[in-house]
């Protein structure tokens, strides 16, 4: 990797670690200071590495520079005397100004502490996702706005409100206790799942940004799954689900950013390594007594890694959706279940069941009906696809529906 590739890469992998360690060093009150020091560290890296070349151990270089900058900052700033000194001095015998601790152990503990701080119930769930991106992944308000198809001001305000709440409450950045983990883990997983979905399903055309969102979410889930405090079968299941989905990332968009549907995908472009890793995690997740929705969804995704249609495949997918919907209703799960029903029990039954779904404002609903009626009653199929077209907003989705309409008109 050359310098131009290396720094963005390190920004993705190290930003979170540096900010987490410094935030737990300074306390949540001073998170902006922590962020400033980290940004400054990366700025120094790009200046210095550009001139002197890449150091032998770039990561260690970043930690050392961040440490030095922290030292300089504390010396220069009276804040140290007034507010920080007693807290920092506490527990330290060696020095009055201990350096932030970049040991592997502390990096991991700090990251974990930060994830749980971001997912504090004080922060609304939509803000949690934005704050996680901002604080843990170093995404700016504009990048988040692009990913969410929102505008910068809205995101900026949302982030500020969330930050103020955490500061006002004086949230401690400390490894979560067992009861905090139990109470908040669902929330944490939901946030990370949303983060991933934002990347995977976002209608934003920026493929690189979307892939990064997915990778970030996977890194964070990986962190949780490998930590003895937080490891749970449901986390392995969630990571397995992400691996299966991510394995199709390349295959699901065409050269012009158009969506390529599952049936039309070239399965040689699926990432086998990710599928294998997902299978390993899914197997590892099959312990304990809790069957989470992530287990069910990961199993569904697993069956989708078999491209070949078979009665067994669709019967399994149908039953998994049946159980998933009993655990938690969602319109997408209802639509996907109905599609699986058509594959397992036939189109006639699926059409009957589809009509009972009260999803008349959803373009996916009309696309599903269009699909079900294709070859059964093509006039009706066309009507449904046209209705879907009226309701769809994004360009990529509209083009997909138009392709279906053209296909039908040529029959």
């Amino acid at each position: 990797m050359n310098g131009q590739e290396l720094i963005p890469h390190l920004f993705r992998t190290e930003y979170r670690k540096l900010v987490s360690v410094l935030c737990s060093h300074f306390g949540i009150q001073h998170m902006e200071t922590a962020e400033d020091i980290v940004s400054d560290t990366f700025l120094s890296a790009s200046e210095s590495w550009g001139m002197k070349g890449i150091p032998e151990n770039p990561v260690a270089w970043l930690y050392t520079v961040a440490k030095n900058k922290t030292r300089t900052y504390l010396k220069r700033n009276k804040l140290f005397e007034q507010k920080l000194s007693p807290e920092i001095r506490y527990g330290s015998t060696q020095s009055e100004e201990p350096d932030p601790d970049f040991s592997e152990r502390n990096i991991e503990d700090s990251q974990l502490a930060m994830i749980f701080a971001v997912c504090d119930p004080l922060v609304s769930s939509e803000s949690q996702v934005a704050l996680a991106l901002n604080l843990l992944c170093g995404f700016g308000a504009q990048e988040i706005a692009d990913a969410f198809l929102s505008n910068r001001e809205v995101i900026y305000k949302r982030l500020n409100r969330a930050r103020e709440k955490l500061k006002e409450a004086g949230i401690a950045i400390a490894p979560p206790t067992a009861s905090e983990i139990d109470a908040r883990l669902d929330n944490v997983l939901t946030t990370l799942y949303l983060l991933f979905s934002e990347g995977y399903y976002s209608v934003s055309q920026n493929t690189i940004l979307r892939q990064e969102l997915c990778a970030e979410a996977m890194r964070l889930v990986h962190l949780l799954s490998e930590n003895t405090l937080t490891a749970r079968p449901s986390i392995d299941a969630l990571l397995a689900l992400m691996c299966f989905h991510a394995s199709r990332f390349e295959a699901r968009s065409g050269q012009n950013g158009e969506i390529i549907l599952y049936d039309d995908q070239d399965e040689t472009r699926w990432d086998r390594e990710l599928i294998d890793h997902g299978s390993y995690l899914l197997e590892r997740s099959s312990t304990g007594t809790v069957l989470s929705k992530y287990h069910l969804e990961a199993n569904i995704a697993y069956w989708h890694t078999h491209k070949q249609d078979s009665a067994e495949k669709w019967e399994n997918i149908l039953q998994l959706y049946n159980r998933l919907l009993q655990l938690e209703y969602s319109p997408m799960a209802a639509l996907n279940r109905t599609y699986a029903l058509s594959k397992a029990n036939g189109k006639e039954e699926a059409i009957r069941e589809a009509k009972k779904l009260d999803l008349d404002n959803n373009h996916f609903y009309f696309s599903l009906l269009g699909n079900l009626y294709t070859d059964v009653d093509n006039t009706k199929a066309l009507e449904h696809f046209r209705r879907a077209l009226e309701l769809a907003h994004s360009g990529a989705e509209r083009r997909l529906i138009e392709r279906n309409i053209e296909r039908l008109q040529n029959i």
Binding site: E315, N322, R323, Y329, A333, L341, E353
Partner: protein, 118 residues
């Protein structure tokens, strides 16, 4: 939307019992039926399975194993659903697999505390 309780009763006499193959198919029918209700977001509570085994307590602290000696029908299960009225709840109940085995579905509507006062 109101909450309704569906009570499934089935014939428990020996001659009415399904074969193992029929049982196998029946699991799928139940799952598909309940999955269909869930897909309409009309499950009021998560389904719960109940043992076929039962005890009956009678006056004088008399406890017996199930009501099976005296009756030919027993409760096979319960399901809590959401529906606008009895008519809609009835439409949903028509898909219940227990009907294929000569059983029946009793439908009760939940009464809110305010309604109970009147």
């Amino acid at each position: 939307m109101k909450e309704f309780l569906l009570i499934f009763r089935r014939d428990i006499r020996k001659e009415a019992q399904p074969s193992p193959e029929q049982m196998q198919a029946s699991v799928k029918h139940w799952q598909d039926w309940i999955g269909g209700i869930a897909a309409q977001n009309k499950l009021a509570r998560q389904p719960q399975r109940w043992s076929a085994d039962a005890r009956v307590v009678r006056p004088d602290n008399l406890v017996t194993d199930g009501p099976y000696a005296e009756i030919k029908e027993a409760i096979g299960g319960l399901l809590f659903i959401k529906a606008n009225d009895f008519e809609e709840a009835g439409e949903i109940a028509k898909g219940c697999p227990i009907l294929q085995w000569g059983g029946n579905v009793e439908i009760r509507m939940a009464i809110s505390p305010e309604e109970a006062d009147h």
